[in-house]
């Protein structure tokens, strides 16, 4: 068990393509960090540099105060779980688990004990004599996890370990990974492109885009205060609505539609406004509202996603299924629930209605009481 310090790490491929651009992350001992981003954002490359499967072009990676830039992968005291399991097809499950220990000269009795322990934890005891090809996808994934666990490494590295499983299994394995990590307390670095997986697993999220860190933070902080339009649109499902508008006085103009905020936003000019679908609600009479032209509706059971346009711009609202829906809807939003981003850089701007979490909750309670 150890902390991992990634300092100004870059990956530059032959030909000058920079896949990872000066990334720094400090991971505390026992922390579960998820690297998330779209394909090609450099998350896997970063993980593979920590694993030692890719050379580190610039910067340093430390595991437990030891710089491991030039240390062999087998000597880094890490274990990795691969996307396609990467089990040794010619070995039994037992040998798959024992292989790494045997190569490190662990005594036979201890190997037996550790394999038995991991097998019990993962409920794969009855498969120990089988070969991987006689196992299902979920069982193989458990074996792959077991191979990491028996080593008792300083850190686990996960490279999209659940993406080959079907949806149901993915959800249950996700829960198991989380529990297992909490129980073992092993520092973990987990790569995924699935924002839901990232949200549910992470102690802290690292959102990557184009080889750079967009934001690091706890899942809910990232969700509630996205640092950029990229993070806003990437984290959360449905994605945050982003509307281009202009500020004039106390008003926000979206084409012909106007939202009066009652208080002036910082200074006039163009702006990108972010609205979470679940923050929108049906406007009561006389309230400030936007008119949504309804295009289609997705029924999710517990809620209902209404897709449409506001002055030609796409907007999605998440509403309760009990509410009747016509061709147009008047939607209102509490001003402190609006997110403001720079129209050019996409960076988050200082919020004129700075709502701390507590304030937000109070507002919500009041609204509920009022409604």
């Amino acid at each position: 068990m150890a902390a991992i310090n990634i300092t100004n790490v870059s990956k530059i491929y032959a030909g000058g393509v920079e896949a990872v651009k000066s990334v720094s992350i400090d991971i505390a001992d026992g922390e579960f960090i998820v690297l998330v981003g779209p394909s090609g954002c450099g998350k896997s490359t970063l993980l593979r540099m920590v694993a030692g499967l890719e050379a580190i072009s610039k910067g340093t990676v430390e595991i437990g105060d030891r710089v491991i830039n030039d240390v062999e992968p087998a000597e880094r005291d890490i274990a990795m779980v691969f996307q396609n399991y990467a089990l040794y097809p010619h070995m039994t499950v037992y040998n798959n688990l024992a292989y790494g220990l045997k190569n490190r000269g662990t005594p036979k009795a201890e190997i037996d004990a550790r394999v038995a322990e991991a097998a019990r934890m993962l409920e794969i005891e009855q498969y120990l004599t089988r070969k991987p090809r006689a196992l299902s996808g979920g069982q193989r994934q458990r074996v792959a996890m077991g191979r990491a666990i028996v080593r008792k490494p300083a850190a686990f590295l996960f490279d999209e370990p659940l993406s080959n499983l079907d949806a149901k299994l993915r959800v249950s394995m996700r829960g198991e990974i989380k529990q297992l990590q909490k129980r073992l307390g092993t520092t973990s670095l987990y790569v995924t492109h699935d924002q839901l997986e990232a949200m549910t697993l992470a102690d802290r999220l690292v959102v990557l885009n184009g080889g750079q860190i967009e934001q690091i933070g706890r899942p809910l902080d990232v969700y509630h205060t996205p640092a950029s339009t990229f993070v806003a649109s990437f984290i959360g499902s449905p994605a945050m609505n982003l509307l281009r508008g202009t500020r004039e006085g106390t008003q926000l103009h979206f084409g012909s539609q106007v939202l009066d905020l009652g208080r002036p936003p910082a200074f006039p000019g163009p702006i990108t406004v972010g609205i979470r679908a679940e923050d929108l609600r049906i406007a009561r009479g006389g309230e400030q509202s936007l008119t949504l032209k309804v295009e289609y509706i997705e029924e999710l059971g517990a809620q209902r996603l209404v897709h449409g346009t506001v002055d030609g711009k796409k907007l999605t609202a998440s509403l309760s299924p009990e509410i009747g829906i016509g061709d147009t809807l008047s939607l209102s939003i509490a001003p402190e629930r609006l997110h403001f981003f720079d129209a050019d850089t996409g960076k988050r701007l200082a919020q004129p209605f700075d709502a701390s979490a507590t304030k937000r909750e109070t507002a919500q309670t009041l609204e509920m009481a009022a409604g």
């Binding site: 694993a51 030692g52 499967l53 062999e72 992968p73 087998a74 000597e75 880094r76 890490i78 274990a79 990795m80 691969f82 996307q83 396609n84 399991y85 990467a86 089990l87 040794y88 097809p89 010619h90 292989y99 790494g100 190569n103 070969k131 090809r133 006689a134 191979r147």
Partner: protein, 309 residues
């Protein structure tokens, strides 16, 4: 393959469902007919002929034949010369198979390390195989030529007066070298494609589990290469036994008598040079039995250790 089905434990219905259904019972046999005809004309028929004539003493000029029972076989098996040739064939086959497999594998492993993902380089390396075997054989032979062969000169530099075609051991050495050399590209290609078929992530997993590259090779790479290696073992054994005929012929033809030859060349010598068709047929039958036994042995005892994916 049988073992594979057993251990996979597939339900019987599943394999049946994959079977193509024919309306006519005759049709499948009709499809098989061309292949069967070829096997019949070039294998079964000559085999039966050989077995038949191995029991007769044939007149060299084709004027008749006399039934002699097992006499041809007992003559051959009692002959010290024949047993000597058999011994040489065994050594020759073992050495040629071993070295062509080992060197082919070594080159493939080294090439695999470099060309992973580099298609151009791979194509360049594989081109070697496009050189026609007789041309390759002839080139190899020239290397050992008494007058212009560079290898003979190199040997002379170290004080080895190499006389290929005159000295028994020198000829044997040249024969083995050329036979191995001819077979390496073939093995190289199969091993290389076998190596490239091993999933990258499995290699990477091994990289994290095992520090020593040598140990990784023996415990992960080689076992995964076993199906390829087993296939090549059979192909190379057959090659060393039969297909080296051309190499041997070029080396010992019209040379002084005391040169090493293999069993298949002895069949040819006795049958077509010595005009002893009966004795030569008996030798063919013996050779056939040897190959039969060897193949069964390989499948029974070596294939069992092979892991198929």
């Amino acid at each position: 393959m049988l073992g594979l089905n057993k251990s996979a434990g597939k339900p019987r219905e599943e394999t049946d469902a994959k079977r193509v259904q024919f309306n006519s019972r005759l049709l499948p046999y009709l499809f098989l007919a061309p292949q069967m005809a070829i096997i019949f004309i070039f294998f079964y028929w000559p085999s039966v002929q050989a077995i038949h004539s191995s029991f007769y003493l044939e007149d060299p000029f084709g004027f008749g034949s006399t039934f002699v029972g097992m006499a041809n076989y007992t003559d051959v098996l009692k002959s010290g010369e024949y047993l000597g040739i058999a011994r040489f064939t065994a050594v020759f086959t073992a050495l040629v198979t071993f070295f062509s497999l080992a060197i082919g594998l070594l080159l493939a492993v080294k090439a695999d390390g470099v060309i992973r993902g580099n298609a151009t380089y791979k194509t360049l390396l594989i081109w070697v195989y496009a050189i026609a075997p007789p041309v390759a054989g002839l080139m190899g032979m020239m290397m050992f030529d008494q007058h212009i062969g560079p290898l003979v000169k190199v040997a002379a530099f170290f004080g080895w007066d190499m006389k290929v075609g005159l000295n028994y051991n020198d000829t044997a050495f040249a024969m083995i070298v050329v036979s191995v050399w001819k077979q390496i590209p073939y093995n190289f290609i199969f091993f290389l494609s076998g190596l490239q078929g091993i999933p990258v992530s499995v290699r990477e997993a091994a990289l994290m589990d095992c520090r020593s590259g040598f140990r990784r090779f023996w415990t992960v790479i080689l076992p995964l290469l076993a199906p390829t290696a087993f296939f090549l073992l059979i192909i190379n054994t057959t090659y060393a036994l039969f297909d080296t005929f051309g190499v041997i012929d070029v080396m010992v033809k019209d040379k002084a008598a005391n040169n090493p030859i293999t069993l298949v060349y002895k069949v040819y010598m006795d049958g077509f040079r010595g005009n002893d068709l009966g004795g030569s047929s008996a030798q063919s039958v013996i050779l056939m039995i040897i190959v039969f036994v060897l193949t069964i042995f390989q499948f029974r005892f070596i294939e069992r250790r092979v892991h198929y994916n």
